[in-house]
């Protein structure tokens, strides 16, 4: 770690108006009063279940959603939510995101090389040789060979596509990378390879990671700090090792005890709400 706060959330809140005749005028508080500070080179996990607000928080960090109130600070200044293209490009170079589904997040008509070339032309004033060098460098960083770099996504496996997505995020030299369940859809052996690649990238730079995940084992492996979210609120926060080995909040304990492992037995709780609303949309006011 090279010290100094790179990313900070100050009392961030996001409210969505609900749609539909029956719910007109009602609001959904997706994220409420969330604050954290992340040092440069650190790794933060945001964990929780569907409807906890973790993805909304990630989208606000990246700038895909503007907070209703509160601020996201990057490197000492608050993030702005302007529609101006130049400004948005500028902010995109600060924080990048890798999405959950590599089957829908890549353009099916572009190979990794074409995709990276377009990005590099858009963001930098490189010569053709510089672009070529940079593409080769990015391919090496994420462990993709020449053949894979030139293949269309349909010819790639899920793990290879996610490597392309990571290369695309790294191309603009961001200081923060946000992963939204980016390893969840992958097989165990592919996930292990990618986790190692991510540790290698981090070892060689002072990149900062934000990991949105429901997988506590993955979070334990790659992050140092954790926010546990439930229905828009942070219910527990601290060092990942500490929170996962000695969870304090009942919800963290429940999450922890729901993970299968040696000697684990599934538990019947029977407190789940039968209607869909509270689960998938968080807390309705």
């Amino acid at each position: 770690m090279t010290g100094g706060t790179i990313l900070e959330a100050r009392e961030v809140r996001k409210v969505f108006p609900l749609r539909g005749a029956a719910r007109r005028g009602q609001e959904l508080v997706a994220v409420d009063a969330v604050s954290f500070a992340l040092p440069r080179g650190g790794a933060l996990a945001i964990v929780g279940e569907s409807g906890s607000g973790k993805t909304t928080l990630a989208r606000m960090i990246v700038g895909l959603e503007a907070p209703t109130s509160g601020e996201i600070w990057f490197d000492g200044s608050p993030r702005q939510y302007s529609r101006r293209a130049a400004h948005r490009r500028q902010q995109a170079r600060e924080i990048q995101m890798v999405f959950q589904d590599p089957y829908s997040s890549l353009d099916p008509r572009q190979s990794a090389t074409q995709c990276l070339e377009e990005l590099l032309r858009l963001h930098f004033t490189f010569t053709a040789e510089q672009i070529e060098e940079r593409i080769a460098e990015l391919g090496g960083q994420v462990g993709l060979g020449q053949a894979e770099m030139n293949a269309k996504p349909e010819r790639l496996s899920g793990g290879q596509r996610q490597r392309v997505a990571i290369a695309r995020a790294l191309a603009v030299q961001p200081q923060v990378l946000v992963f939204d369940e980016a390893l969840s859809a992958l097989d165990v052996s592919v996930q292990a390879q990618l986790l190692n690649t991510l540790s290698d990238i981090k070892d060689r730079s002072d990149l900062t990671y934000v990991f949105v995940s429901h997988d506590l084992a993955v979070v334990r492996q790659i992050t140092e700090q954790v926010l546990v979210m439930q229905r828009g609120h942070v219910v527990e926060t601290g060092a990942t090792a500490q929170v996962l080995s000695a969870p304090q909040h009942p919800y963290t304990r429940l999450l922890r005890s729901s993970v299968p492992g040696p000697g684990w037995r599934p538990k019947r709780l029977d407190h789940e709400p039968s209607s869909r609303e509270p689960q998938d949309h968080g807390e309705a006011n």
Binding site: D187, A192, E272
Partner: protein, 330 residues
């Protein structure tokens, strides 16, 4: 005698005009009241095995070998026998209940239709039976749920409805294909508890398909591990966790991050999993195996009986004596 017995099942499917093999000599058996886990990564052939068991192979597929359900050959069934087998023999709990249940009908229609049409029950009696079965899966306001549509229920609730429908069908074998893959961990724990409890109470057999070794080990008696379209290892669940015998199983356990501690690097399995049709003459795991020997590349290992299980590895006996692959210290 086994309720379900799969013998040397080979399946080819048509892709891009070519016949490609997807299953190679799959062998498994499920005794009455037993739960068998079928574990492996994407493309290993788990779901294709399940589809073959239900006689639901894709169009253009061909199969050799045999699938015996209660002594009768499933692959040879036609007409009336096949319909009876699909109605009462096996029931499926699918990965995505929202796409497995007709969205334009109510839960009540879904649950009572088979009772009315097949068992000849009156509507009122069928509804009462459905409400009683819903209570068993922990849905206490069954009458209200019968009037709801699939989109009004959460994923966990819908999966309970699917389990409920399995119970109502009276089938003796439940085939559950990644039933909790799309659910949150706390919901997964509940759905698995319900499935496990009801199966034991009624001594039903379960074929449980999962990519999650730990989850399968928690609810199954025995586990078969698949790789590249074939079974590479079968053992009782506890034995598999304590002493996995096949190099692939050993590597898979080691590669998984654990909640109890981080390591600087995970012992990842190098390379990628091959598909069944890409397998050569030797062992299908040879190109990624840390214990590979020259004969592994030329000689195809057979699924060999070892005490209380089976393993498909030429060097199984030597490897059993070696320590498990270790994580590097943080």
């Amino acid at each position: 005698m086994s309720l379900l017995e799969v013998r040397d099942l080979c399946v080819w499917v048509q892709t891009e005009g070519k016949d490609r093999q997807v299953l190679r000599d799959v062998v498994l058996s499920v005794a009455p009241g037993e739960a068998l886990g079928l574990v492996g990564e994407s493309g290993a052939g788990k779901s294709m095995t399940a589809r073959a068991v239900g006689r639901m192979l894709p169009t253009g597929a061909s199969a050799t070998g045999d699938i015996l359900f209660d002594g009768a050959s499933v692959l040879a069934m036609t007409g009336r026998d096949l319909r009876a087998f699909r109605r009462r023999g096996t029931s499926f709990v699918a990965q995505n209940p929202l796409s497995a249940i007709n969205p334009v009908h109510t839960i009540g229609d879904y649950l009572t239709e088979p009772l009315v049409v097949i068992a000849g029950m009156r509507h009122k009696a069928a509804s009462e039976a459905a409400v009683a079965a819903l209570a068993e899966v922990g849905i206490m306001d069954g009458l209200r749920v019968l009037g709801q549509y699939p989109h009004e229920l959460s994923g966990g609730m819908l999966q309970r409805v699917m389990i409920c429908s399995s119970l109502l069908s009276g089938s003796r074998l439940i085939v559950a294909d990644e039933p909790t893959a799309s659910l949150d961990v706390t919901t997964q724990s509940q759905v698995m508890a319900i499935l496990d409890e009801l199966r034991r109470e009624r001594s039903l057999s379960l074929l449980f398909i999962s990519h999650d070794l730990e989850l399968a080990a928690a609810i199954c008696d025995r586990i078969s591990v698949m790789y590249a379209g074939e079974i590479v290892e079968c053992q009782n669940a506890r034995g598999l966790q304590a002493e996995p015998r096949h190099p692939y199983t050993r590597a898979l356990f080691a590669a998984r991050p654990t909640i109890d501690g981080a390591s600087h690097r995970l012992p990842a399995i190098p390379g990628r999993a091959i598909a069944a049709h890409e397998a050569g003459a030797g062992c299908s795991f040879a190109n990624r195996c840390p214990y590979v020997a020259p004969q592994c590349n030329t000689e195809h290992p057979l699924l060999t009986e070892t005490d209380g299980g089976q393993v498909r590895c030429l060097r199984a006996a030597e490897i059993a004596a070696l320590p498990l692959p270790m994580r590097c210290p943080p």
